[in-house]
Amino acid sequence: MNDTRYTNNKIIIGLIGEKGAGKETFTQLLRNTLLQTTQVINTSNLMAETLELWTLEKSRHNLQQIALLMERTFGEGTMNRALAEKVNNSTAEVIIWDSIRFPNTFDFVNTLPRSILVYITASAEARYERIRLRKQKVGEDQMTLQEFIDNEQVGTEKDIPMLGHKADFTLDNNGNMNQLEKQVRAFCQQFGLG
């Protein structure tokens, strides 16, 4: 199915990656490289805005709960449709869909005519250290490595590696920034971006 309703010839980069894999860094590097106008459509923002409306704490647990309850209440694909609406309203030439966690979102983005699915990954140890350092979400810096790993086996995180293996391009972010930058340039070349 070539669904052009939402995209109007925009390029959609669907980003897949575990916590701390470097999704934001990838986005930053990509934006530095690309000449086209870009916009990040962020699934966490959608959940965070909702939590803010309800004056609830923006913990990772609550963000996950919102995603699950909206899908349960308004039907499978509710989040995809909400984000597609944001894609539709965007005037940017390249949309970065940050990030893809569910098989149905993967399939949804995959059917958009000019979509590229990108997987960024790193070892659990490396990601755990990054998460601890950035303390972005409530309670995240208190976790042990084992808790961090266990937490990824359930709920909204569990399908990420499986989806990543089906992506059009994979970046290994176990190294330093230079190494990642090289991979971003290789990615842009392969897909004729920049």
Partner: protein, 190 residues
């Protein structure tokens, strides 16, 4: 943040004058900052954020689901925090329909549960003349009475018993204004 704000929890049947009440209150108290709040505004904004249709069915689905996940009274707690942040001297919470909203009003040290009511025939006539909702245009008086006996509407007269103040809005607008002035005096808002 005004910690000392006066919170009016307004409830009343359709056509009892809830919207007019807030307009007249502003006229009577021009030096007070009066803020109308709808407890459903959070639901409306959530649906908008998610690109979902703004229909009554989605409002109730959303609130049930949120309260199942985050606990009973989640909507009231969110409203409490939002009202706490308001700069207003007087906050009018319009359209109280459920017990958690009653409890919300009572959680403010300075509050009043105000019951607005009027003769059904008068209220029906007001509804017909304002034609706000599509299904109200062709409604008969019998249909109007039947709608009021729905479980969601029955809460209103029941709550009337618990009100701190009651206004029977059976007269013209000038009479209503005088009744609101009496109310303001009783609660020392003037």
């Amino acid at each position: 943040m005004n910690k000392d704000k006066f919170v009016i929890g307004l409830f009343g049947e359709k056509g009892s004058g809830k919207e007019t009440f807030t307009e007249l209150l502003k006229e009577i108290l021009p030096n007070k900052k009066i803020q109308g709040v709808r407890t459903s505004a959070i639901l409306m904004k959530t649906l908008k954020t998610w690109g979902l249709p703004d229909i009554r069915e989605n409002y109730s689905k959303l609130v049930i689901s949120m309260e199942q996940t985050f606990g009973a009274g989640s909507l009231a707690r969110a409203n409490k925090q939002l009202i706490d942040r308001e700069e207003a001297d007087i906050v009018v919470i319009d359209g109280i329909r459920r017990q958690p909203e009653v409890d919300l009003v009572k959680s403010f040290p300075r509050h009043c549960l105000l019951y607005l009511t009027a003769d059904p025939k008068l209220r029906f006539a007001r509804l017909k003349s304002r034609q706000e909702k599509e299904n109200e245009k062709n409604m008969t008086f019998e249909g109007f009475l039947a709608e009021e006996s729905l479980p969601t509407e029955q809460f209103i007269p029941q709550m009337g018993q618990e009100a701190d103040y009651r206004i029977e809005n059976n007269g013209q607008i000038e009479r209503f204004k005088d009744q609101i002035k009496d109310f303001c005096q009783k609660f020392e808002l003037v």
